[in-house]
């Protein structure tokens, strides 16, 4: 009796995870795959459609627009994020006055909800009443249609997301910078290397793993973009800020196309995994 009890104990301890795994991960993944072959609005019975949902993806213009929008976001967001975060981390890693104050400032947007940041920037970006445009006018420049110009709107959201998240990457780079051995810099100093040379020849190669992590994390963030366009633009103007998650959400909860929405989810998840794998290959090759 005692033996069996002892034997089962570890399984009892991991049971909360196993329960969660089966109910909220394993079953949903399998169910998702089943759904991709069905048409279903939750209320009436499921209807088998074969590969219909899958075929529909390829002719669904809006979905591909949402993918292009996401890529546009990433192309602005990732480089900007890395440059600003690395610069700020370099500064905070030195002996500077009031480091605590600067650190607190850079990390402030990180802790508040994306909802707060989006409402705030919606006002800052406003065309007529927005602070940014008023500032531009006061220094003699013209107004920018931050959220109403289809060519600009996604870039505006990328700028805002950079402002919100950069603190996290500053922290990760700070951790990375502390792993670089001091002797390397001392040796470089003896050779008379400049600040810039030390940065490009020692710092950047040494923190390559951190750079990779930052690229992956901001890619995943970009692929999860939802609440920002949901609040700011509803996906407009002219679908220019329609993100893929927002589109999947609309398919499911505005049109009740559960089968098609699940198909988009599965397809999109594979796309995300593919992109991250490619990034890993590409960045590790540079070593």
């Amino acid at each position: 009796m005692k033996r069996t009890k002892k034997h089962f104990l570890p399984y009892m301890m991991v049971s909360p995870y196993l329960f969660h795994l089966i109910v909220f991960t394993a079953f949903p993944v399998v169910f998702s795959l089943v759904l991709t072959f069905h048409k279903w609005n939750i209320i009436s019975p499921m209807e088998w459609t074969g590969f219909g949902n899958w075929q529909h993806i390829f002719s669904d213009r809006l979905f591909w627009i949402s993918i292009l929008n996401t890529l546009k976001f990433l192309i602005v967001h990732i480089p900007l994020q890395i440059i600003i975060a690395l610069a700020l981390a370099e500064v905070l890693n030195q002996k500077i006055r009031m480091r605590g104050f600067f650190r607190a400032a850079f990390f402030m947007p990180l802790v508040v909800s994306g909802v707060v940041v989006t409402i705030l920037w919606q006002q800052l970006f406003a065309y007529d009443t927005g602070v940014i445009n008023r500032l531009l006018i006061s220094i003699g420049l013209g107004k920018v249609g931050w959220l109403i110009d289809p060519d600009v709107a996604m870039i505006s959201i990328a700028l805002m997301a950079t402002w919100k998240n950069v603190g996290l990457y500053v922290i990760l780079f700070l951790v990375g910078l502390q792993t670089v051995p001091k002797q390397y810099y001392e040796a470089a100093d003896l050779e008379g290397a400049s600040h810039w040379q030390k940065f490009t020849r020692i710092t950047v190669p040494m923190i390559n793993p951190t750079i990779f992590m930052v690229v992956v994390l901001s890619t995943l963030g970009g692929f999860s973009l939802f609440i920002e366009p949901y609040i700011m633009t509803g996906g407009g103007p002219l679908n220019s800020t329609l993100s893929s998650v927002l589109y999947i959400y609309k398919q499911a909860f505005e049109y009740y196309h559960m089968g098609y929405s699940a198909t988009l989810g599965v397809f999109f998840a594979f796309l995300i995994i593919l992109v991250v794998v490619l990034q890993k290959k590409f960045i590790e090759k540079e070593d």
Binding site: H7, L9, P10, Y11, M13, V14, P16, Y17, L18, H20, L21, F24, T25, F27, P28, V29, F31, S32, L35, L88, V91, I96, F101, F102, A104, A105, F106, F107, M108, V111, V112, S113, V115, I119, L120, Q123, L124, D128, T129, G130, V131, R134, S138, W163, I171, M213, L220, S224, I227, Y230, V245, I248, Y249, A252, M258, A262, G265, F268, A269, I272
Partner: protein, 272 residues
């Protein structure tokens, strides 16, 4: 020359810091201004007014939403700490068949994008009749893979003698975890606690999907629907007031426990 360079350096750094802080100050000031003053470049309103807050409270049950969010996030954090440390302990300190398999499944599921489970999870909630109940906001968030890995790692770093001594004294495994080991891994508990609380507090897409009943809405969800829907009636001040209301608890907590917040954020990078 050196002084000029240094002054310039601090000027740029201060400008950078201001660009992170100023929008928040502007938001607070604008929410306290009369509607016609919002958008002006001045920092202080010509007259202070709480009209926007009064109007917000009369339009939406935001106090109720605050209580909902506090309730749900606190419960989720508690369950996450208890369950994840149990699993983390079993994975690091107990020998049993399938232990490594479970470990690899955890790593694998962490890299699974949430987009794939979003729709079926909603359907599960519908079938369980959990839509418009607290259960839908709590049960799926009671444990998570990242927390398990954090606990597993911390428990691995503790000396075996600590556990052996407790076992000789006749301590059960659960009591070992919570009374003997927990006091030794306080930093991990704080880190996991902050991350779990923040994740639950800031979650918005899931509540938008599973909660339609106004009395059960979480704070970020209610603020989102208030701003997106027609009820703010295009009044900027009221929208900003609701955003300030949503931001204040977290910012206050952050200013008090800055070090712990930063430590938790740093640990999100130790994923692989």
């Amino acid at each position: 020359m050196k002084i000029i360079k240094k002054t310039l350096f601090y000027l740029i750094l201060t400008a950078a810091a201001l660009s992170f802080i100023y929008p928040f100050i502007w938001m607070i000031m604008a929410s306290l201004s009369p509607e016609q003053d919002i958008g002006k470049l001045i920092l202080f309103p010509t007259e202070f007014t709480f009209d926007n807050y009064v109007s917000m409270v009369s339009k939406i049950p935001i106090g109720r939403a605050l209580i909902n969010s506090l309730f749900v996030s606190t419960i989720n954090t508690g369950f996450t700490l208890v369950f994840s440390s149990m699993v983390g302990y079993a994975l690091s300190r107990m020998r049993f068949k399938g232990r490594n398999v479970i470990f690899f499944i955890i790593i694998f599921t962490m890299s699974l994008p949430f987009q794939i489970t979003l729709i079926p999870n909603y359907i599960i909630m519908v079938k369980l009749h959990w839509v418009d109940t607290y259960l839908s906001l709590i049960v799926p968030f009671m444990i998570n893979a990242f927390a398990i890995l954090m606990f597993r790692q911390s428990f691995q770093g503790l000396p075996q003698a600590l556990i052996d001594a407790a076992r000789i004294d006749g301590c059960g495994e659960l009591r070992i975890v919570f009374t003997i080991l927990w006091p030794n891994i306080k930093p991990t508990i704080i880190t996991v606690g902050i991350l779990a609380f923040m994740a639950s507090w800031n979650e918005v897409i899931w509540p938008l999907i599973v909660i339609r009943e106004e009395n059960l809405m979480t704070l970020p969800q209610m603020v989102t629907l208030f701003v997106v829907g027609g009820r703010a009636e295009a009044q900027l001040g009221v929208k900003l007031a609701s955003a300030v209301f949503l931001a204040t608890p977290v910012i206050v907590a952050y200013l008090f426990f800055q070090k712990h917040f930063i430590q938790s954020m740093a640990s999100t990078g130790i994923k692989d």
